[in-house]
C-alpha cells in the first residue's frame, strides 16, 4: 500500500484546507447575501445606512426570574440583533429610539418591546408559550415538546459540560443526569475517555456501549469507534445532550438501540448580527491520588522480616544472603552509602575527602518514591474557543474554532531535549450553516474537523492497547524499589549500576542485595516518543423541503454525510546515550559513568493505522396535522450507512446497516399522548433472509393537570404519567463480522519446514493453513424488551420539579457462544460459532428532584438525582457446576467470583485445624488469610469460589448540584457518588517484593500481620509479609480480601464565576459582556476505600481477573483546577 502513501498525506493536508475554504466561501456568500438584500430593499437600507448609535442593554429572565441565555433579540424589520449571553444579558446598538425589539426563544412566547428612549436598559421577562410546558427535547430524528415526550429521555445542560473542564465529553456526562454512569480506564491525556453505561449493563457477552448520535448522524459501533468523535468534540460546540433510555425513544435505532442512545446536538446560527464569543481556559491537572511507597528503611526492615519468615516457614536459608545488616539499615535511615566507620577505614582518603563522604547522599542506599516521581507532575491545560454566531432570514451560521492542549502528570525529564510526558493537542473546527435559498427549503451544511495529536512514551504498536502500554509504563514501579539508583543522575541517563547483583566492593557496597531493574524514569526516557495523529472530518448536508403546497404539514428531508477518519502512529526511538554508574573506588566522593554510546534515532511512521470512512444517508417524509384538538405527526424515513476500514480488514467490504424509521405521534390538547415507533433494521451480520427485524415500541402519556376537572392551584402545577414498552436489538458480537458465513480457513497461519537438511541452513519454509471461525447461518440479533413507567410533577408554582422512572429490561437471544461444547469438538473457544442463547433481566429506578427559587436578587437552585440499577443473568450457557454458588447464571452481570476470606490464621490451633488448601499444597502458616470451606469437604479449592462483592459498575449512583447566583456572581457545586460497586486488586498491585526486589507500599507496612500487632489488637489489613510470595502463599488467590468497595462521595465539580457588564471600559472595547470564572473537577473524594492503592473510585477494573493476573496497571485519573474567561462582542 506504499503507493497510496503520498496520496493519503496529500489528502491529509488538503482536506482541512478544503473544509476551511468551503466555510469561508459560505460565510462570504452569507455576507454577500446580506448586502444584496440591502440594495434590493429600500425599507431595510433606510436603517442600514443610518449610524447605529443608540445603545440598548437588557436582561432576559424566565418566569422564575432566572436569566435565559441564548434568547434571540432583534430589532424588528432589520437584521440588527444579538443573542443573550450566559447570564441572560444582551447589548445592542440601534439607529434610533423608535424601533421595536423582538425577543424569541424556543418554548417561550415571542416578546416585543418598544424601545424606551429614556432608559435604554431593559429587564424583560419572557413567559412560557401556552403554559410552562414548552421546553423542547431533542429526540431521535426530531424535536419534541417536553410535555409530549412519552419515552424516558434525560437532558444534560451544555453549560454543565463546559464547566467540567475535562478533555472528553464522556467524562463530563457522568454525574450530570440520572441513568447514565461510567468508569474511566485511564487518566492519560488523549486516552482518558470514560466508558458510558445507560441504565447499567444488560448483556454479559457483548458491548454495553450506547449508540452515539451527533447531529443526527449515528456514530459507528464497529471496532470500538463509537466514542471517537464524541470524545474529540469541543464542549463549547454543544447545544444540547439528550440521553434516550427506554425503547420508546430508541426503537427507531432498532438493531443498535439496545444499550441506549446519546444524542448530541451542536449549536447553530440564530437570527441577529454576528456575536463573537471568545473563551479561554487555563487549568492544572494532578493525579487525584497516588499510592505511597514505603521508605527504603521500612523496605529494608520489612524485607529482613520477610526473609526470616521464609527461612523459618520453609526451613530454607536461601534468601539469607539478601538480609540487610544493621550497618545497612543505618545507611538507609541516614541516606549514606558508608557508615562513618567504613569511611574511616578508607585510609587512602584525605581527611577532607572523608568528611565529604560522610556528608554525601546515598547512591546505593537512597530513598525515592518513584510512584510520586513518575506521576506527581502537574499537567498544564489550555483551551481556547472562538465562535461566531448570527444570521438572517436567508442564512444562519455558527462557526467555532477550538484549541485544546493537555499536558500530563507523567514526569517529563526534558533530558537532552527528550519529551517523556504525555500530551494531547487538539484543534476543533465546526461550521454549521442553515441556508434558505427559497422559502420552503432549508439546506443545512455541517462541516467539522477534529485534529488531535496524542503524544506520549511509545509502548507497543497499537496506541490504544492499554494492556501493553500501561504494563510497560507501570510494571517497573511495582517491580522496582525505592533504593534503586535513579534513572537520571547529573543529566545522564543511567541504565545500570556497577556490578548489579555483583560482589561487594567500595564501588558497590550493596552487592547482591540490589538488582538493577530499569528505573521507571529510565524506562520512560528509553521508550522514545509515540505521536498518534487523529483526524476526523465530518461533512453533512441536510435538506428539508416543506411541501405545504401539496398538502399542509407535509415535508420531506434528506441527509448525506461523510465521515473520514485517518489516524497515524509515528514512533521515534530514543537515542539518548545510556550510562552505568559507580562510585570511584579510589575516591568514592566521585561518581563515574561508563558507556554513553549514542544510538541512531529510528522513526517508524507505519506503526499503526486506524483509518476509517463512513457514509450515511437518510431520506424521509414528515407529516403533521391538527384535527380539532388532536395533533398528529408521522415520520417515515429510510437510512443506510456504510463503515469501512480500508486497511487491515479481512473481508475487504465495508460493514453496513440500513433501516426504516417509522413514527406516529398523537396528542389530544397536550393532555393525552400516544406514540408508536418502529425501527426496521438490517445488518450484514446475519444471513440474507434473517437480516431484517422489526423493533416496535408503544408509549402513552397523560397529563391530569391539563384536565378540566383538575382545578388550578399553586401546589400542584403539573402532573404527567407516562409509560412505554418496546423492543430493540443488538447485532454486534466482539466486533466479529458476517457471523453467518460458513467456516473460514486461513491459508497463512504460520510456517513449517520441509525438506532435506544440510545441517546448517534452514529448510524451505511452507506456509500453513488452518480452520478459523465457524459460522452459524441461523444466528440473529440479540433482543432487548424494555418497559418504563414514569411520572413528572411540578409543585409550588413549578419551583419543585420531580421526575420518577421505573424500568425493566429483559434481554434474550443474547449473541454469545455456548459454554458447554466439549474440547473434543476441536474448535478453540474463540472460533466456536455464535448462537442466540442466554437471557438477562435489568431493572431499576431513577428519581430526580429539583428546586429552584429566588430571594430578592439571589437565585438558587438545588437538584439531586438517584439511580438504581440491578441486573441478573437469567440463563447463560455454562457447564453444570457441582455447587450452585459457582454458577454465573443467577448472578449479576460482571459479578466477581472468588474465595471468601475469614480473617487470618492467628494461633497455631487455628492453623492446625485448617482444611487442606489445594491452591498452595496446604503450606499455610500463621498470618495467612483463612478461607471459608463452603461445601464442607475440608478442602479449599475451586469448589469454594462463590460470588463476592458486587460488579465493577455500581448499582447506585447519585448526584446533587447546587446553583447560586447573585447579581454578577454565579456558583455551582456538584457532588456525586455511587454505592454497591467493587474493584478487584490484582496480585501485582498488592504483593510484596516481586522477584525479591519489588516495591513495598506504606499501607502494607502499616497493615501487615505480625504476632505483635495481633497481640495488641491492631487492625490488620495485610497478611504476613514473606519473601518469594509465589511459592507457598495462598494469600493472593482471588478472594474477597482483595475486593474493595468503590463506594464514594465526591466533590465532583465547583464553578464560581463573575460577569462584568455595563462598564464603560468594556463598551469602549466593544465588549458586551465578560465573564471570569474558576472551576475544578474531580476535586475531593470524601470516602474512598481505594485511596491507599492510588486509585480513583471511578477507575474501570478493565480486567475482572485474579490469581496470576498481571493487569494491575492503572494510569492515575486526574483532577483539574481551571481558570477561564469568556468575552462576548
Amino acid at each position: 500500500m506504499k503507493f497510496f502513501a503520498p496520496l493519503r498525506s496529500m489528502q491529509k493536508i488538503c482536506s482541512p484546507c478544503l473544509t476551511l475554504l468551503a466555510t469561508l466561501t459560505l460565510m462570504a456568500l452569507s455576507v454577500e447575501n446580506t448586502v444584496a438584500r440591502v440594495s434590493s430593499n429600500f425599507a431595510f437600507s433606510k436603517f442600514e445606512n443610518l449610524k447605529s448609535n443608540f445603545p440598548i442593554k437588557g436582561t432576559v429572565l424566565d418566569e422564575l426570574g432566572q436569566p435565559i441565555p441564548g434568547v434571540s433579540v432583534q430589532l424588528k424589520g432589520t437584521t440588527i440583533g444579538t443573542i443573550t449571553d450566559i447570564n441572560g444579558k444582551f447589548a445592542l446598538s440601534v439607529p434610533d429610539g423608535d424601533g421595536t425589539l423582538s425577543l424569541s426563544f424556543l418554548g417561550y412566547n415571542t416578546y416585543t418591546q418598544q424601545i424606551n428612549k429614556s432608559t435604554g436598559v431593559l429587564t424583560i421577562k419572557l413567559q412560557p408559550s401556552t403554559n410552562s410546558l414548552n421546553e423542547v427535547v431533542v429526540t431521535a430524528f426530531g424535536v419534541q415538546k417536553r410535555v409530549n415526550v412519552t419515552g424516558a429521555v434525560s437532558t444534560i445542560d451544555s453549560k454543565d459540560v463546559v464547566a467540567s473542564s475535562v478533555s472528553n465529553i464522556t467524562n463530563a456526562l457522568v454525574g450530570n443526569a440520572p441513568g447514565i454512569s461510567g468508569l474511566q480506564t485511564s487518566g492519560e491525556p488523549g486516552r482518558n475517555g470514560t466508558k458510558i453505561y445507560i441504565r447499567g449493563a444488560a448483556t454479559y457477552a457483548n458491548s454495553t456501549d450506547p449508540l452515539i448520535v451527533i447531529d443526527g448522524i449515528e456514530q459507528p459501533n464497529e471496532n470500538g469507534k463509537s466514542y471517537d468523535q464524541l470524545n474529540a468534540m469541543d464542549a463549547n460546540e454543544i447545544e444540547s445532550i439528550s440521553i434516550l433510555k427506554d425503547a420508546a425513544s430508541t426503537a427507531v435505532y432498532g438493531i443498535r438501540g439496545a444499550n441506549g442512545v446519546i444524542i448530541i446536538t451542536t449549536k447553530r446560527g440564530v437570527n441577529g448580527k454576528p456575536t463573537l464569543s471568545f473563551t479561554s481556559n487555563f487549568a492544572a491537572t494532578q493525579a487525584s491520588n497516588l499510592t505511597l511507597s514505603a521508605s527504603s528503611y521500612d523496605f529494608a526492615l520489612t524485607r529482613n522480616r520477610a526473609i526470616n519468615a521464609y527461612n523459618q516457614n520453609e526451613n530454607n536459608p536461601g534468601y539469607n544472603t539478601l538480609l540487610f545488616t544493621p550497618d545497612e539499615l543505618w545507611k538507609f535511615q541516614n541516606n549514606r552509602d558508608y557508615t562513618p566507620a567504613e569511611v574511616d577505614a578508607m585510609t587512602f582518603l584525605t581527611a577532607e575527602q572523608k568528611a565529604s563522604l560522610n556528608q554525601s547522599p546515598a547512591l546505593y542506599y537512597g530513598n525515592h518514591d518513584y510512584y510520586k516521581d513518575q506521576f506527581g507532575d502537574t499537567g498544564k491545560q489550555a483551551q481556547y474557543n472562538i465562535s461566531v454566531r448570527g444570521g438572517n432570514e436567508k442564512v444562519k451560521y455558527y462557526t467555532s474554532f477550538g484549541y485544546f492542549n493537555q499536558g500530563s502528570i507523567l514526569k517529563d525529564s526534558h533530558l537532552d531535549g527528550t519529551n517523556t510526558g504525555s500530551h494531547y493537542d487538539r484543534s476543533n473546527f465546526r461550521s454549521n450553516f442553515d441556508i434558505k435559498p427559497v422559502k420552503n427549503t432549508t439546506i443545512s451544511v455541517n462541516i467539522s474537523g477534529q485534529f488531535g495529536s496524542v503524544i506520549g512514551p511509545s509502548f507497543g504498536t497499537n496506541p490504544y492497547d492499554n494492556t501493553i502500554r500501561y504494563k510497560q509504563l507501570i510494571q517497573f514501579l511495582q517491580e522496582g524499589n525505592t533504593y534503586q539508583v535513579p534513572g537520571v543522575i547529573d543529566g545522564k541517563l543511567v541504565t545500570g549500576v556497577n556490578g548489579a547483583n555483583g560482589g561487594i566492593s567500595i564501588s558497590n557496597p550493596l552487592g547482591t542485595k540490589q538488582t538493577f531493574n530499569s528505573t521507571p524514569d529510565a524506562i520512560l526516557l528509553q521508550s522514545g516518543s509515540g505521536i498518534y495523529n487523529q483526524t476526523l472530518l465530518t461533512t453533512s448536508v441536510k435538506v428539508k423541503h416543506d411541501m405545504n403546497y401539496l398538502l399542509k404539514g407535509l415535508s420531506i428531508r434528506g441527509t448525506a454525510n461523510y465521515d473520514d477518519s485517518y489516524n497515524k502512529y509515528i514512533t521515534i526511538s530514543s537515542n539518548l546515550p545510556s550510562y552505568t554508574v559507580r562510585r570511584n573506588p579510589t575516591n568514592p566522593n566521585e561518581l563515574q559513568f561508563y558507556g554513553g554510546t549514542i544510538t541512531p534515532i529510528n522513526i517508524n511512521g507505519d506503526s499503526y493505522t486506524g483509518t476509517y470512512h463512513k457514509v450515511y444517508f437518510d431520506a424521509g417524509i414528515d407529516y403533521e396535522t391538527k384535527i380539532g384538538g388532536s395533533n398528529i405527526t408521522a415520520l417515515i424515513l429510510g437510512k443506510a450507512s456504510k463503515f469501512s476500514i480500508p486497511f487491515g480488514d479481512a473481508f475487504n467490504t465495508p460493514s453496513g446497516i440500513m433501516g426504516l424509521v417509522n413514527r406516529v405521534t398523537y396528542n389530544y390538547k397536550e393532555r393525552y399522548q400516544a406514540e408508536f415507533n418502529l425501527g426496521y433494521n438490517g445488518t450484514e451480520n446475519f444471513a440474507p433472509g434473517r437480516r431484517f427485524g422489526f423493533f416496535p415500541a408503544y408509549s402513552a402519556g397523560w397529563v391530569p393537570t391539563s384536565e378540566s376537572f383538575f382545578s388550578k392551584n399553586k401546589y400542584v402545577t403539573f402532573l404527567k404519567f407516562r409509560g412505554s414498552y418496546g423492543e430493540v436489538g443488538n447485532d454486534q458480537l466482539n466486533a466479529a463480522r458476517y457471523l453467518f458465513l460458513p467456516s473460514q480457513f486461513s491459508l497463512n497461519s504460520g510456517t513449517y519446514y520441509i525438506g532435506t537438511s544440510n545441517g546448517t541452513d534452514r529448510l524451505p519454509a511452507y506456509t500453513t493453513g488452518r480452520e478459523g471461525a465457524l459460522g452459524n447461518p441461523l444466528v440473529t440479533w440479540e433482543r432487548s424488551i424494555k418497559s418504563d413507567i414514569g411520572a413528572e410533577a411540578r409543585f409550588f408554582n413549578d419551583k419543585l420539579n420531580l421526575v420518577l422512572d421505573f424500568y425493566q429490561e429483559k434481554r434474550d437471544n443474547i449473541l454469545s457462544s455456548l459454554g458447554t461444547i466439549p474440547a473434543s469438538f476441536g474448535v478453540s473457544n474463540g472460533n466456536i460459532p455464535p448462537v442466540n442463547i442466554g437471557s438477562t433481566i435489568n431493572k431499576g429506578y431513577e428519581i430526580s428532584l429539583a428546586w429552584r427559587s429566588k430571594v430578592g436578587e439571589f437565585n438558587y437552585g438545588i437538584n439531586g438525582a438517584l439511580s438504581y440499577n440491578k441486573n441478573k443473568v437469567i440463563y447463560r450457557s455454562e457447564p453444570s457446576n457441582p455447587n450452585p454458588w459457582e454458577n454465573l447464571t443467577g448472578a449479576p452481570i460482571g459479578q466477581y467470583f472468588g474465595l471468601v476470606s475469614d480473617g487470618f490464621f492467628n494461633t497455631p490451633a487455628e492453623l492446625a485445624s485448617r482444611p487442606f488448601n489445594s491452591f498452595n499444597s496446604n503450606q499455610n502458616t500463621l498470618g495467612d488469610i483463612r478461607y471459608k470451606d463452603l461445601n464442607g469437604d475440608n478442602l479449599i479449592n475451586e469448589r469454594d469460589r462463590t460470588s463476592i462483592g458486587y460488579s465493577n459498575l455500581p448499582q447506585f449512583s447519585y448526584n446533587s448540584r447546587l446553583n447560586l447566583s447573585y447579581k454578577g456572581f454565579d456558583a455551582s457545586i456538584l457532588f456525586n457518588g455511587t454505592a454497591k460497586g467493587s474493584f478487584y486488586l490484582p496480585q501485582n498491585m498488592v504483593d510484596v517484593y516481586f522477584k525479591n526486589y519489588g516495591n513495598l507500599y506504606q499501607w502494607q507496612v502499616d497493615g501487615a500481620w505480625t504476632p505483635e500487632r495481633v497481640a495488641s489488637g491492631e487492625s490488620i489489613t495485610y497478611p504476613r509479609v514473606e519473601i518469594n510470595t509465589n511459592t507457598s502463599n495462598s494469600n493472593f488467590v482471588k478472594s474477597d480480601f482483595w475486593l474493595k468497595s468503590t463506594d464514594f462521595v465526591k466533590l465532583k465539580n465547583i464553578e464560581i464565576g463573575y460577569t462584568l457588564k455595563d462598564l464603560s471600559i468594556l463598551r469602549s472595547l466593544k465588549i458586551s459582556s465578560l465573564r471570569v470564572y474558576a472551576n475544578g473537577n474531580n476535586l475531593y473524594t470524601f470516602k474512598n476505600d481505594l485511596q491507599k492503592f492510588g486509585l480513583d473510585p471511578e477507575t474501570a477494573d478493565y480486567n475482572n481477573g485474579g490469581y496470576g493476573n498481571n493487569q494491575g496497571y492503572y494510569f492515575p485519573i486526574t483532577k483539574v483546577y481551571n481558570f477561564g474567561l469568556n468575552v462576548q462582542f
Binding site: T321, I504, L551, G656, S743, P833
Partner: protein, 595 residues
C-alpha cells in the same frame, strides 16, 4: 390526495430501501477468506492445510506436549530445575498438578485432531493431486492422529476418541474410551497408515511421516500399553467399577510385552529399509564407540541425521525458546535461567569407564574445591559431556567455539555466593550442570529440530520388552547396542530385576530432556517417584565464588557442595494428568482419580 401521498411516500421509501440493500449490506467476495471448498480445490492449498496440521501436531506450542511457555516437562520430571517463578513448572513443582494447574493443554489435542480429520475427509476433492499422493496424505493424517492419541494415552489414559470432524449441529458428546479401546484405535490407525505411507519421501519432502514413523508410534503405544501403569489388575488409584478401565487394562497380560516386541522389531526393520540407523561410527558389537560424543551429539542435534525417524521440523527460534533451549550466550537469557540439571538425576550418568562418579553429597563434612568439579566433569561418559557444560568449562559439544566457552556464558550457570555459606543453600535452579543438548556443533544456530523418534528408542523398547518377557539375553543385546554407542562397555547383567534397573537408567541417560522421562517414570510406577525422582528433596550444587563479574571463570570458582534446594511435590494422583475442570463440569469426561 392524502392517500396518494401516503402511497407515493411508502412506495418511494420501499423502492429506495430495496434498491440500496445490495449496496449497503454487502456480502464479501472471497478475497482473503477461504472456505473449505477453496482449500481443497488446489493441491497447494490442501498442502498448506496438511502442513498446518503437521505444525499443530509436531511444532512447538501446538500439541499437548509442547504447550508451555518458557519451560519444559523436564522441569517437572526430575531432569531439570523447576524454572523461574513465572514458569508453569515452578508452581507445579511446588504444589503439584491440579485440574487448573497443568503443563499440558488438553484442548490442543483435539484442535489438532480436527485439523487432521478435515484434511483426511476432504483430500479426495483436490483435483490436481494423484490418487497415490491422496492415499499417502490420508496415511499421514492417520499417523498424526495416532501420534496425538498416543500423547493423550500417555498423559490421560483412555480419552475421547474423535473419529471424524464434527459439524456444530451434531451431538458433540464423545465420552472417554477405555485404555484398551484407545490403544486398539491407535494401533488400527497406525496399521492403516503404514499400508499407504512411503518408506521415504523425495528429498524436498523429507520430514513428512514415513512408514517407519508410524510403526514407531505403534511401538511406543504398545510399550506404554505393556508398562505397569496400564498393564495391571489394579489401577494406581481407583476410579471405581468399570471406570477403572479408563485408567488401566484391569488385568495383567504378558502378551502385551510380546506385542510391543513385535511392533518394535517391525519398526526397526522398516527403519533399516528406509535408511535410518543408529549412528555409531567406530563400534562393532560389544565394543565401546570411541567417537561416542560426536555420534550421540549428531544423533540428537544435527538436523536430518539418519538416526532420526521423525523430528519436529519447526525451525523457528521460538520453538527453541519455548523449550528453554535457545542461545545460552545471548538470547532470552532471562527466561533460560533456573533450568539446570538436577543433582537427583546426576547419578544416572557414569564415568567414561562405566563406574559411578563420586559427586559431593548432602551432608558432606566440607565443600570440595572447584577444581574437583572440573576434574570429575572430565571423567564423565561421553553422553554427559555432550549434553552438559558447567561453570569453568568449555562446552564439549562445541569445543572450539568461543560462544560456548566459559567466557561467553551470559547467564549464571551456577548457584553461587560470594561468601562461604557451606552447607547452606545460596540459590536454586542452576543445577549441577547446564544443559547443552541438541546443539552439538551448532555454533551460532539458535533453531534446532527436536527429535521425536530416534532409532535408539526402538533398541531400548526391545531391551525393556525382552527383559519383561523373560528373554534376558536378547534384552542385553539391545541394551548393549545403546551402551556401546554411548561409549560404554557392555553389561553382562542377567538378573531380570537388576537388568530392568539398568535399562531404565539407560532410558534416562540416552533420552535426557527428550520428553520421555516424564512419562517413563510414571508408567514404570517407580516406588521412589515421590522420593527424589520427581517429588521430594531436590538437590543442586552450591558454589562459593570470588568477586569477578564473570561468575563462570575457572579462576573465580572457589568451592562447591551439594545441597537441598527445594522440595518438589508429588502425589500418586499425578501418575496421570487431570482433565481441565471445565471439561469435567461440562460433563464431557470423567475426571482421573485424585483431582
Amino acid at each position: 390526495m392524502k392517500k396518494i401521498i401516503y402511497f407515493l411516500a411508502i412506495s418511494f421509501a420501499s423502492l429506495l430501501f430495496y434498491a440500496c440493500q445490495k449496496n449497503f449490506l454487502e456480502i464479501p467476495n472471497t478475497t482473503g477468506v477461504v472456505d473449505i471448498n477453496k482449500v481443497f480445490s488446489s493441491r497447494l492449498n490442501a498442502q498448506a492445510e496438511l502442513f498446518g496440521a503437521y505444525k499443530q501436531a509436531l511444532g512447538y506450542a501446538n500439541n499437548g506436549e509442547n504447550n508451555f511457555t518458557y519451560s519444559s516437562v523436564a522441569s517437572i520430571a526430575g531432569e531439570r530445575a523447576k524454572g523461574n517463578s513465572w514458569h508453569p513448572t515452578y508452581n507445579i513443582a511446588a504444589g503439584g498438578i491440579t485440574a487448573n494447574q497443568t503443563i499440558f493443554n488438553y484442548s490442543l489435542i483435539y484442535t489438532t485432531v480436527r485439523s487432521l480429520w478435515i484434511v483426511n475427509e476432504n483430500i479426495d476433492k483436490v483435483p490436481d493431486m494423484d490418487a497415490t499422493l491422496k492415499d499417502q496424505v490420508k496415511g499421514e493424517t492417520k499417523g498424526l492422529l495416532a501420534y496425538m492419541y498416543m500423547y493423550g494415552l500417555k498423559a490421560y489414559g483412555g480419552i475421547p476418541l474423535v473419529k471424524k470432524s464434527y459439524s456444530p449441529s451434531e451431538d458433540l458428546t464423545v465420552p472417554r474410551a477405555t485404555v484398551e479401546e484407545t490403544v486398539n484405535y491407535i494401533v488400527k490407525l497406525c496399521d492403516e497408515a503404514a499400508t499407504t505411507l512411503p518408506s521415504t519421501w523425495p528429498a524436498d519432502q523429507k520430514g513428512r511421516l514415513t512408514k517407519a514413523a508410524v510403526l514407531s508410534i505403534k511401538a511406543q503405544t504398545l510399550m506404554f500399553a505393556a508398562r505397569p501403569l496400564f498393564n495391571s489388575a489394579t489401577p494406581y488409584l481407583s476410579l471405581g467399577g468399570t471406570n477403572d478401565k479408563l485408567i488401566s487394562y484391569g488385568s495383567f497380560s504378558g502378551q502385551r510385552w510380546k506385542d510391543a516386541i513385535n511392533a518394535s522389531l517391525a519398526a526397526l526393520t522398516e527403519a533399516g529399509n528406509a535408511g535410518n540407523s543408529l549412528i555409531n561410527t567406530t563400534g562393532t558389537a560389544n565394543v565401546p564407540n570411541t567417537s561416542a560424543l560426536a555420534d550421540y551429539g549428531i544423533a540428537t542435534s544435527t538436523p536430518g541425521n539418519k538416526e532420526v525417524i521423525l523430528a519436529s521440523q519447526d525451525e523457528s527460534n521460538e520453538a527453541a525458546r519455548y523449550r528453554n533451549l535457545s542461545g545460552y550466550w545471548t538470547d532470552t537469557k532471562f527466561n533460560n535461567q533456573r533450568n539446570g540439571l538436577l543433582g537427583n538425576f546426576l547419578p544416572n550418568y557414569r564415568k567414561a569407564d562405566g563406574t559411578d562418579q563420586d559427586w559431593p553429597k548432602v551432608g558432606d563434612a566440607a565443600p570440595r574445591a572447584a577444581s574437583d568439579y572440573i576434574t570429575r566433569f572430565g571423567q564423565m561418559e561421553p553422553r554427559f559431556r555432550a549434553d552438559f557444560a558447567g561453570p569453568g568449562l568449555q562446552a564439549a559439544n562445541n569445543p572450539n567455539d568461543a560462544k560456548w566457552g566459559f567466557n561467553s556464558w551470559g547467564v549464571h550457570i551456577a548457584n553461587y555466593s560470594g561468601t562461604n555459606n557451606f552447607p547452606a543453600t545460596n540459590d536454586y535452579g542452576q543445577g549441577v550442570a547446564w544443559p547443552t543438548k541438541f546443539y552439538y556443533g551448532a555454533g551460532g544456530r539458535l533453531w534446532y529440530e527436536f527429535p521425536i523418534f530416534r532409532v535408539a528408542e526402538l533398541y531400548l523398547n526391545l531391551a525393556e520388552a525382552y527383559n519383561e518377557d523373560g528373554q534376558t539375553a536378547l534384552a542385553l543385546v539391545n541394551l548393549n547396542i545403546i551402551r556401546n554407542r554411548g561409549g560404554l562397555a557392555s553389561s553382562t547383567e542377567t538378573d531380570k530385576v537388576k537388568l530392568k534397573a539398568l535399562i531404565q537408567r539407560e532410558w534416562a541417560v540416552e533420552f535426557y530432556d527428550e520428553n520421555h522421562r516424564f512419562f517413563d517414570v510414571r508408567h514404570w510406577r517407580l516406588p521412589d517417584i515421590g522420593n527424589g525422582i520427581v517429588g521430594g528433596k531436590i538437590l543442586e550444587f552450591q558454589w562459593q565464588i570470588g568477586s569477578a563479574s564473570n561468575k563462570s571463570l575457572p579462576s573465580n570458582l572457589i568451592n562447591y557442595y551439594m545441597s537441598v534446594v527445594y522440595t518438589a511435590y508429588w502425589n500418586d494422583k499425578m501418575h496421570l494428568e487431570p482433565f481441565p475442570q471445565s471439561e469435567v463440569n461440562k460433563g464431557a469426561v470423567i475426571q482421573n482419580p485424585g483431582y
